[in-house]
């Protein structure tokens, strides 16, 4: 445990650095007592106590009375303005849950690995339990939660919160996801496609925040795209806009889970990539391929580069249709950086005429694999009316 080195500092810059260290530590652990804070930061109890008092006065942290080994203690958490929101990303092989506040500050998050073809009932049960566990970690309860956003790797009809294409997630078709979770937890639940959520997150606080029109390409176990035009997510009438994973790229190709043949997912989806890499010891999953490629394995790198090119060709049509300023590449495969992105960019340049006014940018998601979860959180916040405090109401009226 090393105390942050403060180079050539005045006393005030040291204090500032310590304040920041305490705030960052609280953020990392969700909630912890002052004694634990002192241990985790390496600062003295007295210093931590002073800093916590200052941060409390400044409205940065909250303290809640709790007990540790039978003794009374003060649990320190980040301050929550207005209320909390939950953001959930249900993936093919993992589940991410985050709690955040209205400033989009994430207070606690947790990832849970999931089995292949996980069951809708077990997974939704685990979502509910994880949310409650995380609330406990930050010293809050369900009463503090104003809403929950949920992202799933399938097109979603936002009106009903149901998956709008049959077979994409076997067993999930007939379940009203939003209603099940909303009933269980007693809070409003908003369900959306994960690529749409990633697009929303990257457009509001990620790599596309400078642009009004962007595309988010999610390269994961399957492929999907989210479209943002004029700052608004374009979902289509029942949520299938941007589902390029089911664009036919090989008319006589392998059968796809959507019931047709030769979809992009059958060429660049997880099982296609694992098959393309072949029998290599220790490579059994998408994560392995990404890890190996990042360690410089040529075979895995080549497979990902080919996937990048195939995705780029398929994406060209969508780029022509909506003319975005930027394509943001996210999902697990984007963790390999230019290995995937460079051939994808090259394919787009080959297939899309260069726009002289605003040449297309192709960049990696700046929120990484958390983009969808952050988007789910943002969806919940956006869907909730924020009760303004009294003086803010006056201010707004005065400015009116």
């Amino acid at each position: 445990m090393s105390r942050r080195a403060s180079a050539a500092g005045s006393q005030s810059s040291l204090r500032e650095a310590n304040r920041q260290l305490v705030a960052e530590t609280v953020k990392r652990y969700g909630g912890l007592t002052q004694v634990e804070l002192a241990e985790a930061t390496g600062l003295s109890q007295a210093t931590v106590s002073t800093i916590v008092r200052e941060l409390l006065a400044a409205g940065v942290v909250d303290t809640v009375a709790t007990t540790r080994s039978g003794r009374r203690a003060q649990m320190v958490t980040l301050a929550r303005r207005v209320g909390l929101a939950a953001g959930i990303q249900i993936g093919h092989r993992n589940l991410r849950v985050a709690l955040g506040d209205f400033s989009h500050e994430i207070l606690a998050e947790q990832t849970l690995p999931l089995p292949v073809e996980h069951r809708v009932d077990t997974t939704l049960d685990r979502v509910a339990l994880l949310v409650v566990d995380l609330l406990e970690r930050v010293g809050a309860s369900l009463d503090d939660v104003v809403g929950m956003g949920v992202g799933v790797p399938a097109p979603v009809d936002s009106g009903t919160g149901m998956i709008s294409v049959e077979g994409v997630m076997p067993g999930w078709d007939d379940v009203h996801l939003g209603q099940v979770l909303s009933k269980r937890l007693g809070i409003p639940v908003y369900v959306d496609n994960d690529a749409n959520l990633g697009a929303f997150a990257e457009a509001t606080e990620g790599a596309a925040r400078e642009h009004a029109d962007s595309l988010f390409l999610r390269a994961s176990y399957g492929v999907g795209a989210g479209i943002v035009l004029g700052g608004q997510v374009l979902r289509g009438f029942a949520g299938t806009a941007g589902e390029i994973g089911h664009l036919t790229v090989r008319p006589d190709g392998d059968p796809c889970r959507c019931g047709r043949r030769g979809c992009l997912d059958t060429v660049v989806g997880a099982s296609a990539l694992i098959e393309a890499v072949g029998q290599v010891p220790g490579v059994a999953s998408l994560r392995d391929i990404v890890q190996r490629a990042n360690q410089g394995d040529e075979r895995c790198g080549d497979v990902l580069a080919e996937a990048g090119a195939a995705i780029g060709s398929a994406l060209a049509g969508l780029v022509l249709a909506v003319n975005p300023q930027v394509v943001v590449v996210g999902g697990e495969l984007a963790e390999t950086g230019e290995t995937l992105v460079a051939p994808l960019r090259a394919a787009l340049e080959r297939h899309v005429p260069t726009n002289r006014i605003a040449p297309l940018e192709v960049v990696r998601a700046s929120l990484g694999t958390r983009a969808e979860m952050v988007g789910a959180l943002a969806l919940a916040v956006q869907s909730t009316d924020v009760p303004l405090s009294v003086d803010e109401v006056v201010d707004v009226a005065g400015l009116g």
């Binding site: 849970l112 089995p115 996980h118």
Partner: protein, 256 residues
């Protein structure tokens, strides 16, 4: 890369009797590096007995054990440790009155010039906890203040002291909340990414299928099928556990 890699651990025809109780009868098990193998079965199927043999706590009555192709015996837990096999049993065997660092180095404290090298041990403890992305605030936290999930984290972190090749986890998610289970399963994924072989014993089929590469089913002390976790359904594994299907023994024993 080798076309046919040598398993990290290879067990053939392992048998163990306790009086009239036939705990294991000719069991085979292979574990490769960078692989999580789940060992599943009903109560009394022999999972824990097999784990104890790997850990050196029990010696088999018959059978062959190879580590990276070398025939070997694991007569004691200390021998297992020196062979690079680390085990976390269900009771975790942690000392409540000591802090995290002392627990990680329990029984193998590092000395420098005859004195305990606390600085080195604490730095190593921190490094190991970070390698697992653990959520334990300090290596100096007393064990008594940790939750059940954090204790499991400490027990798993302890296996990483001394750079093991194989880690055996006996029911690591039993009696944990979902958030704590999530933490432990993430640790297991990390162990695999670090290139270790992992034997995971668990009753929870969801947890098993979430993190393992292969699922080895034991039934009444015998192999009852080996399944690829990515392509096998929940039902197929359950059928093998309960004996709803009769499966051919996967391999002929090396010793019989």
């Amino acid at each position: 890369m080798n076309a046919a890699p040598v398993p990290l651990l290879s067990m053939r025809g392992i048998s163990k009797n306790f009086g009239a109780v036939e705990a294991l009868a000719g069991v085979d098990l292979d574990v490769f590096a960078h692989e999580v193998v789940a060992l599943v079965g009903d109560n009394g199927a022999g999972k824990s007995t097999l784990a104890k043999i790997v850990a050196g706590a029990l010696t088999p009555d018959a059978g062959l054990i190879e580590l990276e192709g070398e025939p070997t015996t694991i007569p004691t837990p200390a021998a297992a440790r020196s062979l690079g096999v680390a085990t976390v049993f269900q009771d975790l065997a942690l000392a409540d009155n000591l802090d995290v660092t002392s627990n990680l180095f329990l029984g193998r404290e590092v000395r420098k010039g005859g004195l305990r090298d606390d600085g080195y041990m604490e730095a190593t403890a921190r490094r190991v906890l970070d390698a697992l992305n653990s959520r334990i605030p300090s290596a100096r936290t007393p064990l008594s203040t940790l939750s059940a999930g954090q204790r499991q984290s400490v027990a798993i972190a302890r296996t990483l002291i001394g750079d093991p090749r194989l880690v055996v986890l006996d029911e690591p998610t039993a009696a944990l909340s979902v958030a704590q289970t999530a933490e432990v399963l993430t640790h297991i994924e990390r162990l695999r990414e670090l290139g270790l072989g992992v034997i995971l014993i668990s009753h929870n089929m969801t947890d098993v299928r979430a993190v393992s590469d292969r699922i080895v089913v034991l039934r009444h002390g015998r192999n009852n099928g080996t399944f690829d976790a990515a392509t096998t359904s929940h039902e197929e594994v359950l059928a093998a556990i309960t004996g709803a299907t009769v499966r051919r023994r996967p391999q002929v024993h090396a010793l019989r």
